[in-house]
Subunit: 244 residues, 2 copies
């Protein structure tokens, strides 16, 4: 097994550049960490760095490194003894019958939570607007707890994507606090795309113009709004149950 002990090793320095989005995009690679995520990411792994030979991951290149090197490459304060280098997902077309569309969702934690819910409630693909948070952002990847590796993820111009889906008879469901339809009056739908918007501004007007219907979740009037991850979870649950 190859071994690297210096934190100034050129290869390690090169890997460390993957902390920057620009560099990730150039190499089409990103860093993940922790045993659980690496377990979940198997099909995307190019390489792992481990501190102890007993942690060897079968089927790919393993490099033995020091804890100091792990700490340098890690995004967290108390990293586990493993770092993985993955390649990009390479998803290039819209596919399936149920979609979650995210219009400029910015918080990596909210986005991660939404991908977990999408996986749980049988969404086929998550479509993110170009201006959404980077899908290889470390906080996002960690917040998905590995669900991102089991979900089809794609970034697209949303107007083009929605027009495409409409041609395939996918019902586009917007969300808006001003919507006239309560979630629980929505009937059973086979092909749908749920559109969720930015934390502060909601779904943009350009997109709301294209939706087939728009729903809201009725809440106590004392509350200004639900968290976007919670609102998305409730609607995805509801749409999934309606299918049964």
């Amino acid at each position: 097994m190859k071994k690297i002990t210096s934190i100034n090793n050129e290869f390690i320095k090169e890997l460390n550049k993957l902390h920057e989005k620009k560099e990730r995009d150039k190499r089409q690679q990103f860093i993940i960490e922790g045993f659980h995520l690496i377990q979940e990411a198997k099909r995307y792994l190019d390489l792992v760095l481990i501190v102890d030979e007993k942690d060897e991951v079968a089927g790919i290149e393993n490099i033995l490194v020091t804890k100091e090197i792990i700490t340098k490459l890690s995004f967290t304060k108390t990293p586990q003894n493993i770092i993985g280098i993955c390649h990009y997902f390479d998803e290039n077309q819209l596919t399936g019958e149920r979609f979650l569309i995210l219009d400029n969702v910015q918080d990596p934690g909210n986005l991660g939570t939404l991908v977990r819910s999408a996986l749980g409630f049988n969404i086929d693909q998550v479509i993110m607007s170009i201006d959404s948070v980077d899908m290889y952002n470390d906080k996002f990847i960690r917040a998905t707890q590995g669900a991102v590796f089991k979900m089809r993820m794609i970034k697209r111009d949303l107007i083009e994507a929605i027009l495409d889906l409409k041609e395939r008879n996918v019902l586009i469901i917007g969300t808006s606090l001003k919507a006239s339809i309560d979630l629980d009056s929505l009937s059973s739908i086979n092909k749908y795309a749920l559109v969720l918007g930015n934390e502060a501004n909601g779904v943009s007007d350009d997109i709301l113009k294209l939706v087939d219907t728009s729903v809201k979740i009725r809440t106590n009037s004392l509350l200004e709004s639900l968290n976007v991850g919670v609102a998305g979870g409730i609607i995805l649950y509801y749409l999934d149950k309606k299918q049964e």
Copy 2:
């Protein structure tokens, strides 16, 4: 209007100690920041520090300070020009018919999201276990977006609290991935307490022994678990809708 310009002013130093839980508990006070939160927190505000006289808050003491002082007292990198000092909520008894019980929920973001959902779905009181995150933690307060000031919040020994609620005929609903009852087979209930658990370990065994029923949310088997904030939101939505 009183004015303080030195960051080394004794009173400012004293206020800065409120960053520590021990000191907060001693004085029964905590710091909040931002115009929106201060608007929502009116009934708990003792004092505000402002940079500009035009931001004066009516009905309480205002002190004019420098931006440097605001930055010192703030928890965020780019604070708004206002800091508020609030007193503790002083909630000392179980009250109402609908409860959300949080057994050692640790992430301030999850807890904040849950309090928003509790307010939205007509929960009367949130009961936190003694070992849950501090309810005056700044990240928690911010994550509630002010909902915490409209919700009754109390910390209690959960076993005592649950026994007390059972005597009042409140149905105690646990959550567990091993539960045999799916959420959608739960019937309409008037008085209920939903128990949510720790992010990693769920509801503790001691508490699960006391629940009247335990529910799970059916999801695709590829998903290990939903985020606790999302799971809580879905169940609270469901219980609230069943009442209508």
